[in-house]
């Protein structure tokens, strides 16, 4: 236990006297992570009621999920919406980030703020306003409608990630590439893009997750054949609480974790 008497910082306060701090930090960390995790074992519960820990282990709720046409349709919708949102928002955010990085001025700041408004405006307002517009445009319950509105929620996130990477990127490299004979677009594609790859992949993953996890807007805008997983889940929570929801939650946790792991793995710059 010598570690307890070692100095923990420049001010020579020891680890021992800060034990309370470490305990508190550990508690908070547990508070953050554990609740999400208890859902997972619950989905393998054999009983009909929510219980933790499960008394019997079984896959019945997974079977019920896979066998349910409505849940499967909702899953397809959520993945489709997520994928399309990712494909729409990432390039748009990338272009905007590059343009803003080159502009640098009062206009750049204004446009940047304008592109961030979707996350500043309370999401309920986005939901009902877009619902109101979609009713008139007959876009309610359509996949395209969902993708459009999810994209505007994803663009600010992707923009912040990519813009931050561009800010710390050494633009001299693009300049050198241009001096060596590459026009601006080529220099960007050959030199800059490979080096901000991590940020772009992260932005793409986060765009997907923004759509996949989104609840409020989906409540209003999705439905019928194109109802998302989250919308069905929310309604199920209100009506009856069955462990199928735990199953879906587990699946969503797995999807998020996998995607974030992918972003970490494939985004990192190659080292020989």
């Amino acid at each position: 236990m010598r570690w307890l008497s070692q100095p923990a910082s420049a001010t020579q306060v020891t680890h021992g006297s800060r034990l309370w701090l470490y305990a508190l930090a550990a508690l908070v960390l547990a508070f953050l992570t554990l609740p999400t995790l208890i859902v997972v074992p619950m989905s393998f519960s054999g009983s009909q009621y929510l219980e933790f820990p499960p008394r019997q282990w079984s896959l019945r709720w997974y079977q019920s999920y896979l066998g349910s046409a409505s849940w499967m349709q909702a899953t397809r919708t959520s993945f489709a919406a997520g994928g399309l949102t990712m494909l729409l928002s990432t390039p748009l955010a990338l272009m905007a980030a590059y343009g803003l990085n080159a502009l640098r001025g009062r206009w750049a700041a204004i446009i940047y703020a304008a592109l961030l408004t979707p996350i500043i405006v309370p999401v309920i307002l986005v939901g009902i306003a877009v619902f109101y517009a979609y009713v008139r445009l007959k876009l309610v319950n359509s996949l395209m409608g969902i993708v459009l509105v999810h994209s505007i929620l994803a663009i600010p996130v992707a923009l912040i990630v990519i813009a931050s990477a561009l800010k710390s990127y050494d633009m001299n490299q693009e300049l050198v590439a241009r001096s060596l004979g590459a026009h601006r677009l080529k220099a960007f594609l050959l030199i800059t893009l490979p080096q901000i790859r991590f940020a772009v992949i992260t932005a793409a993953v986060l765009s997907f997750l923004t759509s996949f996890d989104e609840v409020v807007v989906a409540l209003f805008v999705s439905g019928g054949d194109n109802s998302t997983l989250t919308r069905n889940m929310f309604n199920a929570l209100r009506d009856q609480i069955d462990p199928t929801i735990a199953t879906i939650s587990t699946i969503m946790i797995v999807v998020s974790s996998l995607l974030l792991a992918v972003a970490q793995l494939f985004g990192r710059p190659k080292k020989q």
Binding site: S9, L21, V28, L32, L50, L103, P122, Y132, S256, L260
Partner: protein
């Protein structure tokens, strides 16, 4: 010897100036053009509908211009209660998030890189797990037969199951859980950028650890703390899912009221008026904070000139 000259011949005074200006403008417009697709999408999909929606708040049922929705908001006490609950939740969430989040961020900032990365993943994973999943998890945990009650009774801390959910406290636990990462990340970011040698200097000059912390470290961490607190507060104002699921109908924040007004009463005018007030409030707070703190800190990747 050659000495640098001034414009001797006025006819060559502005050589190529007009063409160069044109080139500069062209490049400027091209760069601006890159931002247009995103701007177009945001404007058409969000701004136009919202303006459209807000116009409804000024229309009576017959379509004539009227302020009756706003008048009703001021007259009926239930609207006031909604706002009070909203502010209560937001303020308490922010306060609790600061109280538990700041120490965690501090410990994280002191950890060696590998441990810090691991813990950051632990913070980011819930962040990117659906809010609905996390709210549901709390629903399960806080129920009368939920894990917390079972454990508390088994440990002998209380004998009757506590009503931890379907009420204000349950909602608060949920909102704090959701908002914590929003506070931890900016604070952590700022703390990492604090120059370690400053604390060395403080110790060297004779400050006790506690004194050094409060006089040097804490003030330097304030920008991150302020940014995080602001984000948490503003996002809390707009909460919908968590009070709906964990509040059991007893916690009606402004967002819930707006949804109810539409889903149950089909009262677009009232909902819209409420929305106008909520958005105005949000924007005022953001603007005031932006002036005080600097907009770049809120966005995190500032392009402020």
């Amino acid at each position: 010897m050659y000495v640098g000259g001034k414009a001797r011949d006025m006819t060559v005074g502005a050589l190529n100036a007009a063409d160069l200006r044109r080139d500069a403008r062209q490049e400027h417009w091209t760069m601006l053009g890159l931002t247009v697709p995103a701007l177009l999408l945001v404007t058409v999909t969000m701004l136009v509908p919202i303006v459209w929606l807000f116009s409804l708040s000024f229309l009576a049922d017959d379509g004539a211009f009227s302020l009756e929705h706003y008048r009703r908001m001021l007259e009926q006490p239930s609207y006031g209660r909604n706002f009070i609950v909203t502010f209560e939740i937001s303020l308490l969430t922010t306060a609790i998030a600061i109280a538990v989040g700041y120490p965690l961020a501090y410990v994280l900032a002191q950890l060696p890189p590998r441990a810090a990365n691991l813990c950051l993943i632990a913070v980011l994973l819930p962040f990117w797990t659906s809010l609905l999943v996390r709210t549901y998890a709390w629903l399960v945990l806080l129920q009368r037969q939920g894990l917390i009650n079972k454990w508390g009774i088994a440990q002998g801390w209380w004998s009757e199951p506590l009503a931890l959910v379907h009420n204000f406290s349950g909602t608060l636990i949920g909102t704090v859980h959701i908002m914590l990462p929003f506070l931890i990340l900016p604070v952590y970011g700022t703390m990492k950028s604090i120059d370690g040698s400053l604390m060395n200097a403080a110790a060297n000059l004779g400050a006790s650890p506690v004194r050094a912390f409060w006089s040097i470290y804490f003030p330097l961490s304030l920008p991150g703390l302020a940014a995080g607190a602001l984000i948490v507060f503003i996002l809390s104002l707009g909460f919908y899912v968590t009070p709906a699921v964990l509040g059991g109908g007893k916690v009606t924040m402004v967002s819930n009221r707006i949804a109810n007004d539409i889903e149950i009463f089909f009262n677009w005018g009232a909902a819209s008026a409420l929305g106008v007030v909520l958005l105005t409030l949000t924007l005022v707070i953001v603007y005031a904070a932006a002036r005080l703190l600097g907009l770049s800190r809120i966005a995190g990747a500032g392009h402020a000139p």
